[in-house]
């Protein structure tokens, strides 16, 4: 017996929606979320505008679905792999290396999607901006939590300011992303890995634990 499945139309509708969102992520990664238009996507995908409207009733709905899907990609590529590592310094390094790899490999053609989106939405209000900033803040909290666990496990010195250390780690990662995608700096990721190594060594991490940063 075959298991019950959703109706053919439901599956087809979901597939079409996924195709639209996948293309929207590619476009928005370079052009920004404001560069998305239902008409433009319909042309690219050789669909009717009304067909696309059936899936996304408004530009805001389309932008929101795009941010949600891009966040899911980030979680899959960066957070899930690192979550398999022990909490604390090991997972912190996994998150940092995962982020740099995700940016460098251009999972999105314009680099880190949430970085670009939050930068683009500066000074605006609305649900799309709120969603992007919430996801970015969630990522920063995740880094901060692992800094604190590393301290509680004596992998990093407890005298170090955890919030400051988190600011610095995040600064190196997002700046590497920006220097690479915006200024074509060929050394950006190496600079970030070296900076993370210096920072964590200065915060008391054992050299052996940091060897992963040397590639």
């Amino acid at each position: 017996v075959t298991p019950p499945t959703p109706s053919g139309e439901g599956i087809k509708g979901q597939r079409t929606r996924n195709t639209i969102v996948a293309h929207a992520m590619e476009v928005a990664s370079i052009e920004g979320l404001e560069g998305l238009s239902i008409g433009g996507l319909a042309t690219d995908l050789e669909m009717s505008k009304s067909g696309l409207f059936a899936h996304f009733g408004s530009k805001t709905d389309l932008q929101m679905a795009t941010v949600t899907a891009a966040t899911a990609v980030f979680v899959e590529k960066v957070i899930v792999p690192a979550s398999a590592e022990p909490e604390g310094l090991t997972r912190l390094l996994g998150l940092c290396l995962g982020y740099l790899d995700y940016s460098q490999r251009r999972v999105f053609p314009g680099g880190c999607f949430l970085f670009s989106t939050t930068a683009e939405m500066r000074g605006r209000t609305g649900p799309v901006r709120d969603e992007a900033t919430d996801q970015m803040n969630s990522w920063l909290r995740l880094l901060g939590r692992n800094v604190k666990v590393a301290q509680s496990q004596r992998e990093l010195a407890t005298t170090v300011d955890a919030r400051g250390l988190t600011f610095e780690l995040n600064a190196y990662m997002t700046t590497a992303n920006w220097l690479s995608v915006a200024l074509d700096d060929p050394d950006a990721y190496t600079s970030a890995r070296c900076a993370i190594q210096r920072l964590l060594a200065g915060a008391g991490a054992q050299p052996a634990a940091l060897r992963r940063l040397e590639q």
Copy 2:
């Protein structure tokens, strides 16, 4: 005798052009350079579209004039004041504090103009992107040169990697800008000043020389 002046129309034309560019900087600071349109500016400024076209023949011309004007503001607000300070560590601190102040006081409503513009232009090609990235690279070289002078004057340890230190300083500054304008982080500038202080103290700067960072 009065000195020869440009014709009245020349002066008036220049004034109108300045008014247009000043408004274009405000709009682009939030909406991005792609958010500029000759029609939109004409409406905002209650001018005719053809009148605006007389000053800027194309969108690229308008965008280029906007980047040039924004760079001039940056030079005036950040680079000129620091250039009055002695080269080396003192000027380096002047540049860093000047940048943070320029971002925090929202000289542009969307924070650092060149940061936003280079981020927006990621993955594109063309003269506007080239101009913005050249100006940003010029700023990074200026920081790097003062790091090296500080080392040659023994204000910073000569064993420190100057390129790495420059990467880190820039990372703290642009990340403070981004955290503040994009994520509304109220502590962004304080975090950056603390990080700069830790970094330069670790690189051998005298504590007294860094007191300016404590505000």
